[in-house]
């Protein structure tokens, strides 16, 4: 039975028509036996364009549709919706990309038209083999697992709990607050970190919907979006029930495991660990929280120096900028000047990144208190040596100052190293447990850096805060709330549609060779010992097709990307 196919060639205004002779393509395509109707139109993606398709489906009973226009990444969803509106299964549709990959990139009209004909014919040959596919819906467990109880974890947990949803807040340490708990004041408005946290921690402890699990770690995560089973274990050294294993059912997971500060001793030329008065930013925060700024021997420093980009923006450690240390350094200048007005503060930086709200004014106010700002080159690094007996300071910092072009020596009694951010040491393990990937620096990879920053390619796993990339508190809180909001939106829908495109194994073809079993990065393929057959969990399958290509008995069929469809398309495009 010859399938009735409608082919629509789009002018896209002049974007395609300028180079590709759409009429010639239409004529050629109409000669193909499988094609019932072939039309050209100015803007297929416009409403009248889509109505054209809907009318043809209704009047001529078209069973399959091909649109030769822009990239499927652009309007495949639009046209599928049009088919659905006309009552035809949305997967009975194929697009030929004759704009981004033809008219826009070729200047010879004749060759471009020939190519457009081939691409259109390939789509027709492929769509002949398309099958109707239905989207599966799975019900959604409303509980959420939040990993990490820093400012991001606390914010996300409260957002969900106060919306009436059950939340499991998992924290590997024995206290809440994460890295923010180790900080005294925050830049640029110098409000106290303690106030930010205390308010949230009290609300977390008093909320009925939150189950707080301190000293606990994620052991294993199985299942798929809406139906995860998380196995947790308590790691507390003493506490009751150490090592106790517990299983919980959750619908979504938010990973906000935060960051680890860069180990300053790795930078040998700063002498951290050898020179007692060279301390890291977190050591200085402890001093601030204790309320006294003093050198190791208890004396008040006459000269203080702050060095930026320790471990960040450097070839041998981390290339990225850790974003928060510049403003934190200026915060330290303010705190030193207010505590010890007579102290001369010098600030060694590569570039002053004052990009956020109120940062530039903060930077200007720091200049007004006569801080000596010294710029050193990106590849260069200052060297700290202890001073001689006749010097009036403990240490001397030698640096190749860029703004004056001079090699200078700076007196310093106290040197604060602004250590950058690094991925947590267990980030690799966390990533493997929840099946998300890491970039080469160890930060988790988001689904789309601009359009989808809090989701990951693994459905149901969200990421927020500094575990994604270095960022300051406002961005972290914004991401935490974004993740929580997306989960609330899903919970509100109740059901979750699982994509119709996935792989499936036919039982009578599978010979149990198990070659496909560990190919799947999402472990969506299980082996049934009794029946000696492999089976794909369709909800977890992301339709990458690795197993479909690998199955030596051709038993795995990639829905919407079957061998038959692709081979037909290949033959069609090489006509």
């Amino acid at each position: 039975m010859k399938a009735k196919i409608g082919v629509y060639i789009c002018h896209c205004g002049s974007n395609i028509a300028k180079i590709v002779d759409c009429e010639a393509v239409r004529e050629y395509i109409s000669t193909l036996p499988e094609v019932a109707i072939a039309r050209t139109y100015k803007y297929m993606c416009s409403n009248p364009g889509q109505d054209l398709i809907v009318q043809d489906i209704k009047e001529h009973g078209l069973q399959r549709v091909v649109v030769a226009a822009c990239s499927p990444r652009m309007h495949e969803r639009t046209f599928r919706a049009a088919l659905q509106a006309a009552g035809l299964n949305p997967y009975m549709f194929e697009m030929a990309n004759i704009r981004e990959q033809c008219s826009w990139v070729h200047d010879d009209p004749q060759a471009a038209t020939e190519k457009a004909k081939a691409l259109a014919q390939a789509a027709v040959r492929r769509v002949v083999h398309h099958e109707a596919l239905e989207q599966m819906t799975v019900d959604m467990c409303p509980n959420t697992l939040v990993i990490g109880a820093g400012i991001a974890g606390l914010t996300a947990t409260l957002e969900l709990a106060e919306a009436g949803q059950k939340v499991f807040l998992l924290e590997k340490q024995d206290h809440l607050g994460g890295n923010l708990a180790r900080v005294d004041l925050t830049a640029p408005y110098l409000d106290s970190a303690r106030d930010l946290l205390i308010e949230r921690i009290t609300r977390v402890r008093s909320s009925g919907n939150i189950e707080l699990l301190l000293n606990s770690r994620l052991q294993q995560l199985q299942g798929y979006v809406g139906n995860f089973t998380a196995t947790l274990s308590r790691t507390g050294h003493d506490g009751p029930g150490t090592g106790k294993i517990r299983e919980i059912q959750v619908g979504n997971v938010i990973v906000c495991t935060g960051y680890r500060e860069f180990a300053a001793e790795r930078v040998t030329h700063f002498g951290y660990g050898k020179l007692p008065d060279v301390i890291t930013s977190f050591d200085f925060e402890k001093m601030l929280q204790a309320g006294r700024i003093e050198c190791c021997d208890g004396t008040i420093p006459k000269y203080a120096a702050i060095i930026h980009c320790v471990g960040s923006r450097s070839a041998e450690f981390h290339g990225y900028c850790s974003r928060v240390c510049c403003m934190t350094a200026l915060k330290y200048v303010h705190e030193i000047k207010s505590a010890v007005p007579s102290c001369y503060v010098s600030d060694l930086y590569i570039d002053m990144h004052a990009f956020g709200k109120g940062h530039e004014d903060f930077y200007r106010r720091t200049s007004e208190v006569k801080t000596m700002f010294l710029m050193f080159g990106k590849g260069d690094h200052p060297i700290i040596r202890s001073a001689g007996p006749k010097d009036d300071c403990k240490m001397l910092i030698e640096v190749n100052e860029q703004l004056s072009g001079e090699l200078i020596e700076i007196p310093a009694d106290l040197v604060i190293l602004m250590v950058g951010m690094e991925a947590q040491e267990d980030a690799m393990e966390t990533a493997r447990l929840v099946n998300i990937s890491q970039d080469k620096e160890g930060w988790f990879i988001e689904s789309h850096p601009k359009l989808d920053p809090v989701a990951t390619t693994t459905d149901g796993i969200f990421i927020a805060g500094t575990c994604v990339a270095p960022k300051d508190i406002p961005d972290t809180v914004a991401q935490a709330r974004a993740a929580a909001a997306r989960i609330l939106a899903r919970i509100a829908k109740g059901k979750i549609a699982v994509d119709a495109v996935y792989a499936e194994i036919s039982d009578d073809a599978c010979s149990g060779c198990r070659i496909c079993n560990e190919l799947c990065p999402y472990s969506a393929i299980e082996y049934d010992d009794k029946k000696k057959r492999s089976h794909v969990i369709s909800a977890m399958c992301k339709a990458c097709g690795a197993c479909v290509a690998a199955c030596p008995s051709g038993a795995i069929k990639g829905r919407h990307f079957t061998d038959q469809q692709i081979l037909a398309q290949i033959e069609g495009v090489l006509r």
Partner: protein, 144 residues
């Protein structure tokens, strides 16, 4: 008229197909000899597709995937990284020039790189000349 090679391009949806689209939006011109089909991941490319393309008259096959480590499905391109060399080792025994089948890593932001690779491959295959794989495949066995 000089020989115009016909090359099949099999591009992965998340990186190389997006890169080819970027070449389009940035109006980076390249020869029209490569005709692209889209697969979800380069791991979906079965070497049988490449062989089928060669016997269906393709003068060259260009397979593109994400750079190792960037794969949308985290490990897909590693499989391609192993299948294509295996295939090329076999094709050599069939007398098919090594440059007719080519594997390249192209990220979604490398429109220019995709155009350059297409230009380079088209020129190399134009030099190699048409592929004889398809012709006299089904010819009468008796011809001398």
């Amino acid at each position: 008229m000089s020989f115009e090679p016909r090359i099949l391009g099999i591009l992965c949806n998340w990186c190389s197909y997006a890169g080819a689209d970027l070449a389009g939006t940035s109006r980076i011109h390249y020869p029209p000899n490569v005709r692209i089909i889209r697969v979800m991941c380069s791991a979906r490319v079965d070497p049988t597709f490449v062989v089928k393309a060669l016997v269906s008259g393709a003068d060259g096959v260009l397979i593109c995937g994400c750079h190792p480590g960037d794969c949308h499905y985290s490990e897909g391109n590693y499989k391609t990284m192993r299948r294509i060399p295996l295939l090329k080792k076999v094709l050599k025994d069939f007398g098919i020039e090594d440059e007719r089948v080519r594997l390249e890593w192209i990220s979604a932001s490398e429109g220019q790189r995709f155009a350059d690779i297409v230009k380079d491959m088209t020129e190399r295959i134009r030099v190699l000349g048409p592929s004889h794989v398809a012709c006299e495949l089904h010819a009468d066995p008796r011809e001398r």
